[in-house]
Amino acid sequence: MEVTLSSLWATYLERSAKFWLLTREHFLLLVVLPVTMAAAVAIPLGILASKQRWIQVTSLAFANLMQTIPSLALLAILIALGAGIGNKPAIIALFLYSLLPILRNTYTGIKNVDNALLEAARGMGMTATQILIMVELPLAFPVIMAGIRTAAVICVGLATLAAFVGGGGLGDFIVTGLGMVNNNLTLLGAIPAAVMALLLDYILGKLEYWLTPRGLRI
């Protein structure tokens, strides 16, 4: 099937309303929401993991396991577990997939804080909580942000799985396009997803830079 700019444009015009709906859905429901949820869970969990060996072992094993389950199988399991269909199981699946990069980076970010700094902090009379808030988290911040960034970019690509359970998003165009061997339709989903991933990576990169304490910027 021939793909030209004009055929792509025609495909877009045909469904421009749906295009923008799906793009918004893809971004807000299938990337921002699950990554935010994953960050809300994985950052505290990563902090606990850096303090407690058994939490580290179990949580990283769980997050790793999630990554190994193929998306179709994970969705089937979620449906069987009663997560239903539509964007709910998709959001849960994306949440589960986003856990690992954030969890792992939070854990390593904190674990990599120089022992000398922790020794100095304790020796100066900082409590464990003060060390966490004033030393460990600020120093781990760039690494944690990088984890969130990775999760977000992966999520943009993985979010196409939502189309498998009627969850919307740009995967709708991609899956349908693939099924119908309509490359125009596939690209109408794939191109904005790729652009979204690049933009997100860029913006989060900038954000990471501006939020990094000045003394740590490279």
């Binding site: 020794e119 100095a120 009379g125 120093l139 003394g215």
Partner: protein, 397 residues
Amino acid sequence: MVKFENVSKVYSPGTYAVRSLNLEIAKGELVVLVGPSGCGKTTTLKMVNRLIEPTMGRIFINGQDIRYVNPAKLRRQIGYVIQQIGLFPHMTIAQNVGLVLRLLNVPKKERDKRVDALLEMVGFDPKIYRNRYPRELSGGQQQRIGVLRALAADPEIILMDEPFGALDPITREQLQDELKKLQNSLHKTIIFVTHDMDEAIKLADRIVVMREGEIVQVGTPEELLRNPANDFIREFIGKKRFLRSPEEVLVAEIMVEDPVTGHPEVGAAEAFQRMQRHQVNSMLVVDERGILKGILTLRGVQKGIQSGERKKAGELMEPVTETVTPHETVLAAARYMAKSKYGLLPVVDERGILKGLLTNASLINTLVDVLWPAEEIDPKGEDKNGSNSIELMGNLS
């Protein structure tokens, strides 16, 4: 002030890191714990601020058993300086220095005032350094800040765990001098750990020599040098210190092995920067074969820069009249040094290749140690000699 009473630390049954240690440290005293690695000196130090808890025995500070003091509170009242410096890279110099004050809820205004005063005390211009970050400072500058950080809350006791161990020899010597100066005016109770006997002798009011968790001898540097308790101490202090005359000690043993050098083609500005970075007031000019060509003084460089022309080190340097070879004796070196107008003596081999550097300070220290090991060393006199050859950049600029 600080009292150890039968203190032991056992890590695994039967292996004592510290064994039945009894020691009393008076207010205002600088006590150096010295010994080979694994002798228990650092463990002893860290038990004072409860970073390590003793297995047996008690430690008192001002008569209070520290087991009953909240560890965080206890530590805020005790200054702590470590070898790795441990400045927080995400905080400014001011934030680092003021951290304990912040932990003690001292209001920001007061904190800032105190931080500025401390910076000024060691020759840092607060306007310049307050908002700098640790990575913008050299190692020596960082550890100065590390010491200030420990002083910030004006603690009575300061613990120093090999604080100068990671610094280059010249910087180390400078910081030792500064610490002595500070101690002369502040009179803190300082417990200082090192494995370097020279450092111990230079700094200590009292030296505690440890081995395998136990105290071998306690005494003033003078007492130790005069009456070493046994062979271990004699060995540890170093034979050359006692038995050898200046004719026996060779230049190679006491020279600085990596002096600041530069190629004749190096520009004046870069040479200036290099001196500033290493905090010295001269640079030895050597060619690509390592052959000494001359000496570039700070004054010479400044002249070169002021002249406005892009002059090179080779053009600005002055010839070196006095040198010494590594195989000559310290006595011979002292004679050359007397003639040298720079207060330093380059060490070159037969082919003229630069091997090292003797400074006024190091030479005099050695001579003093060798000739009069039992004499009281006047810190002021030594200071003066030290700062003749090598000065703080802060003082110069």
